[in-house]
């Protein structure tokens, strides 16, 4: 399978060409979105931002969702689709406070991503630590790559 790298995994923010690199990555991202690639919803503008990786056995979905109660997350997997829904509430502070900055967002979210192959929905594992949700989705047995030995 062709794995398309959205942008180099190691960003170079230092050095004199840093700005160019930033622009280049932004352009690539826009081009991908226009081309309507399978994974063209890169930076889909949907909360939460997700990273998906894979190895031979599993897909790993990681999402940045700081400050939520993991019990209020609803995660479902069917065939090759994973859905993640939940709500992020920001606790109300005492009445007599004045705000200097208010940048943290609250609200509900509901996001579905499609994986390249089907997964074994029975054995999906979810962990929440330090504001990052990690899902481990074992690939379905029949879609796993097999090593074929050549007989001579």
């Amino acid at each position: 399978m062709l794995v398309r790298r959205v942008w180099p995994s190691r960003p170079t923010f230092d050095g004199p060409l840093a700005d160019f690199d930033q622009v280049r990555r932004e352009m690539l991202r826009l081009l991908d979105a226009v081309a309507g690639d399978t994974f063209g919803d890169v930076g889909a503008g949907v909360f939460p931002p997700m990273n998906i990786t894979q190895d031979n056995d599993n897909f790993y979905v990681r999402a940045e969702v700081p400050g939520i109660n993991p019990n209020e997350l609803s995660i479902s997997a069917v065939r090759n689709r994973v859905s993640l829904a939940g709500k992020r509430e920001i606790q109300r502070e005492h009445d007599r406070v004045s705000y200097h900055r208010r940048e943290r967002a609250e609200g509900s979210f509901n996001r579905t991503v499609t994986l390249p192959t089907e997964v074994d929905a029975e054995r999906v594992d979810a962990r929440y630590a330090d504001g990052i949700l990690t899902l481990t989705l074992p690939k379905a047995e029949e879609t796993k790559p097999r090593q074929i030995t050549v007989r001579t």
Binding site: V3, R5, V6, W7, S9, R10, P11, F13, D14, Q22, F39, V42, G43, A44, G45, F47, P48, P49, M50, N51, I52, T53, Q54, D55, F59, Y60, R62, E64, V65, P66, G67, I68, K87, R88, I90, E93, H94, R96, V97, S98, Y99, H100, R101, R102, E103, R104, A105, E106, G107, S108, F109, N110, V113, L115, P116, Y128, D130, G131, I132, T134
Partner: protein, 136 residues
């Protein structure tokens, strides 16, 4: 209150920062989203720093400049290949200038679920006082 909570969260891109002291550590630097509010007794800072562990978070208050630095160790074991990449892991960095005098000994920081809550109590003399007017 409940009405606000029902709105969908808008996704915001992590903002890169041109840091004042140039970084020598490789990797990206991001600015965490913060809420800052104050009442008569304290200034409170809430910062979203997903992926930062308590031991990798540095809070520094020096000459009324508050510096937050949180390093994120990428979770990828190295054997995994990318399928979709929407966010990058890097260092969270942000600085604030605090106008009020802060009681440095009583600063309290708590990190839970990737959110830092920093309480900066004001020193006694910086607290506003209600002055009662006496009449004869």
């Amino acid at each position: 209150m409940a009405k606000e909570a029902r709105m969908d969260i808008q996704k915001t891109e992590k903002a890169g920062v041109p840091t004042v002291p140039e970084q020598t550590r490789p990797g990206a630097v991001y600015s965490p989203s913060v809420d800052i509010f104050e009442n008569d007794n304290a200034i409170t800072v809430l910062a979203d720093m997903p992926g930062v562990k308590a031991q990798d978070l540095k809070i520094d208050l020096h000459e009324s400049v508050l510096t937050l630095t949180g390093r994120v160790t990428p979770p990828n074991s190295g054997k995994e290949s990318d399928v979709l990449r929407e966010y990058q892991s890097g260092t969270f960095f942000r600085q604030f200038t605090l106008s009020e005098t802060i009681d440095q000994a009583k600063i309290d920081a708590k990190l839970s679920a990737g959110v830092l809550r920093l309480e900066l109590p004001k020193v006694e003399k910086a607290r506003p006082r209600q002055i009662a007017v006496r009449t004869d």
